[in-house]
Symmetry: C2
Subunit: 209 residues, 2 copies
C-alpha cells in the first residue's frame, strides 16, 4: 500500500501545534474572564491516598508567602511532624499552631479523652475563625474526628458558616462526611494508585513525616 | 417489638472503643515493624484534581524542615507562584530552584521553544540528581512535558534510575505516562470531586497560586 499524502514536515507539526494551543488559550482565557467571585473557600482533602495533609501544609505555606496570617489546628496526631513544625516556626508572626490531638486514636484507646481533645481543637479553630486577621485555617485530620463522631458534623458546618467571608478553611483526612462534602466549595480525593509500604519500604523523613 | 437486651452504657461504649482501638494498634504496629527498607522513592502525583504541585511543594518544605537540601525544577509554568517562591527563598542554603518552563504551552504556542525549555529543565534536573547533597528533587509539571512528547519518557526514566539511591524524586502533573507510573514507587491520583470554578469563583491567592 502506498500513501499519496505529502509527509508532514517539522514546520507543519509546529504550525498545527501552534494553532491547537492558540485555540486552547482562547478557551482558557474565556473561562478565566467569566470567574469574578472572590470568597473564602471551604476546601476538603479526602481519600485513602497520600498528600491530603501535605497539600494542606503546602497551601498554608503559599498563603504565608502571600503575607497572610494563617492558623493550623492538628486534630489527631499528637504533634506536628518535626519537619513541618521547623518550617512553620520560621514564620512566627504569621502562623498560629495548635496541636491538640493526643495521637492517633489507636494510640490512646480512650474515647473520652479523644472526645475532649477534639472539643479543645474545635474551640481553638473557632477562635482562629473569629480572628479577622487570619485568612486561612487548616483543620488537619478533622475528617477522622468527624468520622468517629467525636464532634457533631452539623455543629462544625454551622461554625464554619459563621466565619469571616474571606477566610479559607481546609479540612483534611480520609472519610470526609457527606455533609461536609456537600457544604464544601472545593473537594479533592487523593487516591492511592501504588504505595511502597506494600513492598516493605518503611516510612522515611521527608516523605511520610 | 421490644428489645430485651440491656441498653449499652457509656462505660460499655468506652470499653468497646478501647478494645477496638487496641486491636487496630496491634495490627498497625505489626505492619510498621515489617517495613525495613529505606531508599529514595520515585513519587508521582497525577490526576485532574488539585493538590499535585501543592503536595510536592509541601514535601519539599518538610524535607527542608528535616535539614535536607532539595532541588526544584519547574517544567512548565513560566515562574514559580510568588507565594511559593517567597517561602522557599527563606531557605537559601537548602533550596536550589530552576524555573525553566516558558509558561503553559497554550501561552507560548511555539513547540520548538517548548521542547528546548523542556530539555534545559531536564539537564538542570540531571545536575541536581548528580549532586550527592541533594536528597529530594521536585520535577514540577514534568508529566505535562512528557505527555506532549517534549522529552522522551524512556530517557527520563533511565536518567532517574541512575540517581543516588537515597534521593527522592517527585514528578507532578496530570496525565502521567504509564511507563512513569510503572517505574514509580508511590503514585497518588488527585481526583476532582467538586471545584468552585464551576460556580464562577475566580483563582485566589493562597488557594490557586
Amino acid at each position: 500500500m502506498t500513501d499519496s499524502r505529502t509527509p508532514e514536515t517539522p514546520e507543519d507539526l509546529d504550525r498545527r501545534h501552534s494553532e491547537k494551543m492558540a485555540k486552547k488559550k482562547a478557551v482558557r482565557d474565556k473561562i478565566v474572564a467569566g470567574k469574578t467571585i472572590e470568597k473564602g473557600l471551604l476546601i476538603v482533602h479526602t481519600g485513602k491516598g497520600k498528600g491530603k495533609s501535605t497539600a494542606g501544609f503546602g497551601m498554608v505555606l503559599r498563603a504565608i508567602g502571600h503575607g497572610f496570617k494563617v492558623g493550623v489546628v492538628q486534630y489527631v496526631k499528637g504533634a506536628w511532624d518535626t519537619g513541618e513544625r521547623t518550617v512553620l516556626e520560621r514564620f512566627p508572626d504569621q502562623v498560629t499552631i495548635k496541636a491538640l490531638g493526643e495521637g492517633f486514636t489507636w494510640e490512646t484507646q480512650d474515647r473520652t479523652r479523644d472526645v475532649a481533645a477534639a472539643r479543645a481543637a474545635w474551640n481553638a479553630t473557632l477562635e482562629m475563625l473569629a480572628d479577622p486577621e487570619i485568612r486561612m485555617v487548616l483543620m488537619d485530620e478533622i475528617n477522622i474526628v468527624l468520622r468517629y463522631g467525636y464532634l457533631p458534623v452539623d455543629e462544625v458546618i454551622e461554625g464554619l458558616s459563621r466565619r469571616h467571608p474571606d477566610t479559607h478553611v481546609i479540612a483534611t483526612g480520609r472519610n470526609a462526611p457527606d455533609a461536609l462534602i456537600a457544604a464544601a466549595d472545593l473537594v479533592t480525593e487523593m487516591t492511592m494508585i501504588k504505595h511502597p509500604f506494600r513492598d516493605g519500604v518503611k516510612a522515611q523523613a521527608g516523605v511520610e513525616f
